[in-house]
């Protein structure tokens, strides 16, 4: 296995770029830790000032909304669930790609994931943080939101409603955040130990010692550690599927035409992975430019991500058409109306933005040239993100704005405050991403070392080594 195939281009088990650079294990440390050791370059400062500006815009909009109330938003009757829920679903979806890369591709033994897994996990965490802002501000009184959301003994003897999809959401999203965070931190422990042993400054050394918990690279620990990692991956996989399933229940469990469909759970999960990969790809393209990590995150990895975007994009396209079929096949009048109204009613513009961005544009990824062209793939992924945002907009707003009773129909237009908050959410997300790459190793050092060519034992002289579950042989 290790002797004949040295064809790095096809052997995805090996993290190619690092091998291509013929780096020793020590040079891997240096390469990955480089952004932490040197002072940030001008590109970093430009990028972070830009994202911080976006964040400020959002912060001001939020401050105004808290001061004057949510009347500053476009939410009206009947569209009570407007941009806040759209943004929430959008951001939670973004997070899904991270878990897919770190957990599902881990279980499927896709070695190319190792180079981007840490980064993708961090993105999950930041995306979920960003997402969580929206349901909380949507209460209008975020400083008492915990009181509405969590079951705690109170003087009214009231408990939260455990049968409501909205409460399932509270549990699903907070579980998702916690488990992703634990998964991420467990992965970071050995890397903190590497940093600890390299650190020169006293404060740095103290911090890294604390976070590494005293990790000693002992094989008696690796044994449990690897098993735990596998278990976490195994648990994160159904978890990530459940999270967007439950988010889709927010809609599917209601009786509104256009929401009340059984296709929603798989359709939402596919959409989440679709938009999530687009976002990971976008951020990776930016990050590798800013931090000069072109050789650590190779084009081939991005190309593979583009293939997944193409695949999930077609799943989403299938769901869009299937919805129409079911609406017609059901023979249910309000249902049929809801879908015809979506595509040809007052929100037709949003529907067709969604449809072309999500279904038509990604088809360009059939061409290898496009898949490997940085500029084109970036633009396409931006379109995918726009399209996926519009998907949530279309689902939420069209169904609410025209339901059963024509007398209660109304058109919804977001206000400038709504958009400012959306912009701010992007600012928050990318600020966190930039800071993360600056202060923590963005690539899992131990994981990369384990898949380099010189890191593999050859097993010729010893009769050992069957079935370490995460090794592909």
């Amino acid at each position: 296995m290790h002797t004949e195939t040295k064809d790095y281009d096809n052997d995805l088990r090996i993290a190619r770029p690092i091998v291509e650079g013929k780096r020793t294990l020590k040079q891997i440390d240096d390469a990955i830790i480089a952004p932490l050791d040197r002072l940030p370059n001008i590109k970093f400062w430009i990028a972070i000032s830009f994202t911080l500006t976006l964040l400020m815009v959002g912060a001001i909009a939020l401050g105004l909304s808290f001061y004057y109330g949510t009347g500053l938003w476009g939410n009206n009757n009947p569209v009570g669930w407007a941009l806040p829920i759209v943004n929430f679903v959008f951001w939670v979806g973004i997070g899904h790609a991270g878990t897919l890369i770190s957990a599902i591709l881990f279980l499927l033994r896709q070695r190319w994931r190792n180079g981007i897994a840490r980064f993708a996990e961090a993105m999950t965490i930041f995306a979920v943080i960003t997402a969580l802002i929206f349901p909380i501000i949507h209460t209008g009184r975020p400083w008492v939101a915990a009181v509405y959301l969590l079951p705690y003994p109170n003087q009214h003897s009231l408990w939260v409603n455990f049968t409501s999809p909205l409460l399932w959401d509270v549990f699903a999203v907070s579980t998702y955040f916690t488990v992703s965070f634990v998964f991420w931190y467990v992965g970071l422990i050995p890397d903190f130990a590497v940093l600890r042993d390299r650190a020169t400054g006293k404060i740095k050394k103290l911090l890294y010692s604390v976070f590494s918990l005293g990790w000693r690279f002992s094989n008696r620990h690796w044994k449990h550690y690897e098993m735990m990692y596998l278990i976490l991956a195994g648990m994160a996989t159904p978890l990530v599927l459940s999270v967007h399933t439950i988010v889709s229940f927010d809609f599917a469990v209601s009786i509104l035409p256009g929401w009340h469909t059984t296709i929603f759970p798989p359709y939402f999960v596919a959409g989440a992975i679709f938009s999530g990969f687009a976002m990971v790809q976008n951020s990776l393209v930016i990050i590798r430019k800013i931090f000069d990590m072109e050789d650590l995150i190779p084009i081939s990895t991005l190309e593979l991500m583009n293939k997944i975007i193409l695949l999930t994009g077609m799943m989403v396209g299938y769901a869009y058409t299937m919805e129409f079929f079911i609406a017609w096949y059901s023979g249910n009048q309000p249902e049929t109306f809801a879908f015809v109204n979506r595509a040809f009613g007052p929100y037709a513009w949003a529907y067709w933005i969604m449809f072309s961005c999500n279904v038509f544009i990604p088809q360009l990824f059939w061409f290898k040239k496009v898949r490997r062209n940085l500029f084109l793939m970036f633009i396409i992924a931006v379109f995918v993100n726009v399209g996926m945002w519009f998907e949530r907009f279309v689902i939420t707003v069209t169904s609410l704005s025209r339901d059963f009773l024509p007398s209660s129909w109304a058109y919804y237009t977001p206000t400038i405050t709504d958009f400012a908050i959306l912009i701010g959410s992007f600012g928050l997300f990318f600020t966190l991403v930039l800071i993360f790459v600056r202060v923590l190793p963005a690539i899992a050092i131990a994981e990369i070392k384990a898949v380099t060519e010189q890191g593999q034992p050859s097993h010729t002289h010893l009769h050992i080594g069957n079935g370490k579950s995460n090794e592909a042989h």
């Binding site: 294990l25 004057y68 079951p151 409501s164 699903a172 094989n219 449990h224 278990i231 439950i246 034992p457």
Partner: protein, 392 residues
């Protein structure tokens, strides 16, 4: 001296193959040894003759345990503590609990296993292990593969091991010493720094919670929900032509659920009113609850006239006497509604149904305890005192 505390002899190897061989070799002779590698080397567990990790059993048991607890909690809060019909579902709506049960299983399984692994299996955090800060540690954290045998091992022999390592192809062999003071250091709960820090944190959190609950929530804009613009009764209004905020019901209408009480004397009430309710179990339970709440402070828990008011007000009479047995239900109703003498009326506090239920309950008490023998004043006072103590 530091040098005297030999912890272990360590050897560094350059390739994964050589460390595998070394581990395989050393593990046949020694028990207290360990291998340190920058990443988990595939097959090392077998070379070291370690049993596979069984942490998964812990994960599944703790996850399922917490899941059952959550299921019980949801059952208890929705079916026992505060039953509510929601969306026409039964109180115990199992299918609707499944998503939360699933999430709790994952949450607790993941978090508690990691916590268990770190604290119980690894005994972390521990930054005072002899290996820390040694050249050996710095090498294995980057690109070397290390193995060490502790001095405590029963077969430990420095020179023999040194030779053995060299033969296995070690690139360097070195002893590891430890500083007893550092390794034996135990945290002290009464360390002044720790105590002051803890108290400081406690004061800070109490202060901020106090400020939040008592000051911040009453500041603009947080208080705006409490201080909304609205018309209060008794205020003048520019909006309405008559200048009053309070509106009067249009002539000839009755507010929903409100039936005016028309009798002005106990006699007319007892003449024209009959009890519309049946003394069912449910009705008597209601009556008992309301009686204990509204009447028992003055009339006693069994309507025996044992007041709990400690003489601040004359006790209510014993309602079981023949005199009251002969009261019609209508007359009782009138007393509860309008009061009698210094007993206030309960028209605004007790609903009509509840008033009838109380009457049914008093009737039951009368039947159950029969007509009491009339007591002297002292006896009554004494009785009420003992009752007071008992009820406290």
């Amino acid at each position: 001296m530091i040098k005297e505390n030999l912890y272990a002899i360590s050897a560094l190897f350059d390739t994964p193959d050589s460390i595998m061989k070394a581990a395989d070799n050393i593990s046949t002779e020694y028990k207290r040894f360990d291998v340190n590698t920058p990443y988990p080397v595939h097959g090392m567990d077998d070379a070291m003759k370690l049993t596979p990790s069984r942490i998964g059993y812990f994960t599944i048991s703790i996850g399922l345990f917490c899941m059952s607890f959550m299921l019980y909690f949801m059952y208890w809060s929705n079916s026992v503590d505060y039953p509510q019909v929601i969306g026409g579902k039964p109180f115990f709506a199992f299918p609707a609990y499944v998503p939360i049960m699933f999430e709790i299983t994952i949450l607790t399984g993941a978090v508690l296993s990691v916590a268990m692994m770190i604290s119980v299996l690894f005994k972390f955090p521990n930054n005072a292990h002899p290996l820390h800060d040694s050249g050996y540690m710095k090498a294995v954290s980057s690109d070397k593969y290390g193995i060490y045998v502790e001095a405590k091992d029963s077969n430990f022999d420095y020179s023999k091991l040194e030779k053995q390592f060299k033969e296995l192809g070690a690139s360097s062999v070195s002893p590891i010493y430890y500083d007893e003071e550092e390794v034996d250091w135990k945290p002290n709960t009464w360390d002044p720094k720790f105590v002051i820090g803890t108290i400081g944190i406690a004061i800070l959190t109490s202060f901020s919670v106090y400020m939040h609950m008592n000051k911040v929530l009453f500041m603009v804009p947080f208080d705006w929900m409490m201080n909304q613009e609205r018309a209060d009764y008794g205020e003048t209004s520019e909006f309405f032509a008559d200048g009053y905020s309070m509106r009067v019901a249009p002539v000839g209408t009755i507010a929903r659920g409100f039936i005016p009480y028309q009798y002005d004397s106990p006699d007319s009430a007892s003449k024209y009113m009959t009890n519309p309710t049946v003394a069912s179990e449910h009705n008597l339970e209601l009556g008992q609850r309301k009686f204990l709440t509204y009447c028992s402070p003055c009339h006693g828990n069994m309507a025996e006239g044992a007041s709990r008011l400690k003489g601040n007000m004359p006790p209510g009479p014993d309602l079981r006497t023949e005199f009251y047995q002969n009261f019609t239900d209508g007359r009782f109703y009138h007393t509860i509604t309008k009061g009698k003498g210094i007993m206030a009326g309960y028209e605004s506090q007790i609903t009509r149904e509840e008033r009838w239920a109380i009457i049914n309950y008093i009737r039951t008490l009368q039947k159950a305890f029969g007509t009491p023998v009339v007591k002297t004043e002292e006896e009554i006072a004494e009785n009420s005192e003992t009752k007071t103590e008992a009820s406290e």
